[in-house]
Symmetry: C2
Subunit: 474 residues, 2 copies
């Protein structure tokens, strides 16, 4: 049996009192993420302030046989940063790894430590007229290391790809404390197996990311935003194809919202909600496009798209933002849905699956039918990223149904959603990762060979199984 | 000892006479790549026509303990598809895996089998108004499976990234014949370790890629091209920064050519060479930009860039292509250098390293000095992809030096080039891969931990070490 008192004493000695938290009150914030609460025991929270301290924390825990769970902003949705019921773990928080190590505007690369928030990364890039192509609702509190470790998605994936696609190099430490590599700033290197992409999305189960080198891009000099009302998911896809024809790669977001989801935002926001136009359409789409060159006339492009879509009766109505305030108002609709869903009182099914883009209408119809079969009369909410095939589907209890009755059916709804995605060659996790919550679903999704290979890889990196055990698979 | 007669008979029986080549004349083309000749023995060339045949070839060889070497177009530069001196191997050629399985223009994904040439992939995308973002001089003969397996680079990396960045899903078979996975067409999936990126760039040492799902993008509707004369590598970087300001992400190629390299093209092409303008500048840059929207005024953008660069005396002279024929003439300069280098009579050092973009001037100066120190008076040629920090450096013997004298110094020049790249935090292989030719260099570049992890990963995928042994590392 590992001696928890002894390891705590050693860590406190190495990190100082500010570097190792043991009091219940200090530890409390580390006992939850955006959705789940920790079921296991937290021995203490190590807060190393540099690479050498990270390495020592890992080596000390490794030698004592203690589980280590890395944690960034704690904004995950899958229990990935929490100890399981059977664990007694040291949490390794990256919140003191806060240095922006370098910004190179010739090569357009930024090297930042894992604990820097995504917003701070974006702000630093903006100060240099650059952009880092990751953005989502958790920018203010999520750590860049966590974004890479979970390969976070978000609103701009259709333009820039996922978090891994912004990654040039990675600095990481193995569970035994050994440094894997420094964060390379190279744009091009074909030198052996790509460990960088293996660590990205591995959710802290293979190594602890301490710093990353990220691509920067030119900051957009122009941005246009529009909202459109449509009758069906098929019309949504037709508009998407049309938008690609007119705007090319400038499409930065293409977000869909169901009528019920929007209505929930209006109900939750109350008097402060702005309804851009009388919108009784079943589906709304928010399009944003941006460009880093003043020679790209995005206003004319979006106007042309709108005209063509109205003329061909793809959209019923549309509004283009004429000011930054109007743009913000349009985005409030999309963000307001997330807020309203988060504030929902009572149990709610919240999903994050993906399917090939062309199969989104089939997916939505199948889910709607499946949900009504399991919980007749339950309100369904759809919203998300059409261009990535990633439609979030939420389900609440019908007004008349007791919470407990609904709760008893939730796992069936989750299972139905995952199976529907899989039957369309989709994924059980589009952008939130696996963590503790989707391990069973992952086993249904992957081939036995893939699972074998993943298990083998885990053993290579962490033979003792001490690093974030029970997350993803093992 | 494996029984070569027996395995050959079994493979011939399984694949038919057209599916398994044994005659010396039939095998001869498989005994070389773009640079190297095979030193080892080829038992025969298996040409499976579908996934099931690939699986059976691998299982048969696995059970017999026979080495298998995958081969696409055979256009590599690193000996990656050739048996080593100590090997007796079956070559698994993908040249009959030629199906374009699906083209989805809603999700913009194409699924193609490994043996389809890059050019055929590009042509198919173009038929649907789409682009696949991989292009290089070997497009006509290289296979898409090989492009992914070696993570090929090329001229458009500055715009679209490397081959791996075009990859959505991968179908691959392990050395024992088991299927890893089908080629997923999902845009977004966060479900466990990313085996796709591990296979991309693994040079056929972990599994054999049989099909890939590739991103498509809108086909550019407009393309502009210009050639500029500059005095120094520093000026080249200044022009690059300026181009990013004006053109944003539309820059599709930013290629540099040294005066000596261009002169060699003119000398080699003779009367057929077109010199766009009297150009006595030390450095020339070819810029191409493209856009998939008609609302991006690229002509105006490139004109503005040219005017600004002339005004600020960053460039000495410039010419913008006014027609497709003029564009082709400008590209002939860049491509003509590769042709002239390929046609060089006598020994030549040919390198492929990369450094952080900002360090390109330092790299060029250091290489020039290092080369002159080792082989005084030797002509140096520089050309390549500035935006990726990937400058190809070639060196020939001085006119008066016997080939044998020069040959004796070539390994020192290679070593100097690699060490110079490494001293600037660069890579010993930018885009050509490791194969057999850069294994020693890779060991100097990577940390012992990285090498350990790579060795461990190889063991997980191919415990018997039968798949393309001695390539990359093992």
């Amino acid at each position: 049996m590992p001696d928890h008192q002894a390891i705590a004493a050693r860590l406190a000695e190495r990190l100082g009192s500010n570097g190792f938290l043991r009091e219940a009150g200090d530890i409390a914030p580390f006992r939850r993420d955006s959705v789940y609460c920790a079921e296991g025991d937290i021995i203490g929270v190590a807060r190393p302030a540099n690479l050498s301290e990270v390495s020592d924390v890992l080596a000390l825990c490794h030698d004592a046989g203690i589980v280590v769970i890395p944690r960034g902003g704690g904004t995950g949705f899958a229990g990935g940063a929490l100890p399981r019921r059977q664990d007694s773990a040291v949490i390794l928080s990256t919140d003191r790894l806060r240095a922006i190590r370098s910004v190179d505007i010739v090569g357009d690369v930024m090297v930042v430590e894992a604990g820097v928030t995504l917003q701070a990364v974006r702000d630093e890039a903006a100060r240099h007229g650059r952009l880092v192509g990751i953005d989502h609702g958790g920018a203010g509190s999520s750590a860049i290391g966590g974004n890479i470790a979970t390969n976070a998605g978000g609103n701009n994936v259709v333009r820039y790809g996922m978090s891994r696609d912004q990654l040039l190099g990675i600095e990481a430490v193995l569970s035994d404390g050994r440094l894997v590599s420094s964060a390379s700033t190279l744009r091009k290197s074909n030198a052996g197996y790509d460990l960088r992409h293996l660590l990205a999305g591995s959710e802290g189960t293979l190594a602890i990311i301490t710093a990353v080198a990220l691509k920067m891009r030119p900051q957009p000099v122009k941005r246009v935003t529009g909202l459109f009302a449509l009758a069906s998911p098929d019309a949504v896809l037709t508009l998407f194809a049309m938008a690609k024809d007119v705007l090319g790669e400038a499409i930065a977001a293409f977000e869909v919202m169901s009528q019920a989801a929007l209505a929930q935002h209006y109900a939750h926001a109350g008097a402060s909600a702005v309804q851009p136009f009388a919108n009784d359409a079943k589906w709304s789409v928010l399009i944003e496009a941006d460009a880093a060159s003043v020679f790209f006339d995005l206003d004319a492009a979006l106007a042309a798209l709108t005209e063509r879509a109205l003329e061909m009766e793809i959209v019923r109505n549309g509004i283009l933002a004429a000011s930054l305030a109007q743009r913000d108002a349009l985005w409030k609709l999309r963000e307001g849905i997330a807020v309203a869903m988060g504030a929902w009182r009572g149990p709610m099914v919240r999903t994050d699956t993906s399917v090939p883009v062309a199969r989104v209408p089939e997916f939505i119809a199948g889910i709607e039918a499946g949900a009504q079969r399991i919980v007749p009369g339950a309100p369904t909410f759809f919203f998300g990223h059409v261009g990535d095939g990633n439609i979030h589907f939420n389900l609440a209890a019908p007004p008349s149904m007791p919470d407990e009755t609904f709760r008893a059916r939730m796992s069936e709804v989750y299972r139905m959603t995952e199976d529907m995605a899989l039957s369309l060659n989709g994924s059980v996790s589009a952008e939130h990762g696996i963590g503790q919550s989707k391990r069973e679903a992952l086993m249904r999704m992957k081939t036995p060979v893939e699972l074998d290979l993943m298990a083998g890889i885990k053993k290579v990196f962490d033979p003792g199984g001490l690093l974030n055990p029970g997350k993803i698979l093992f």
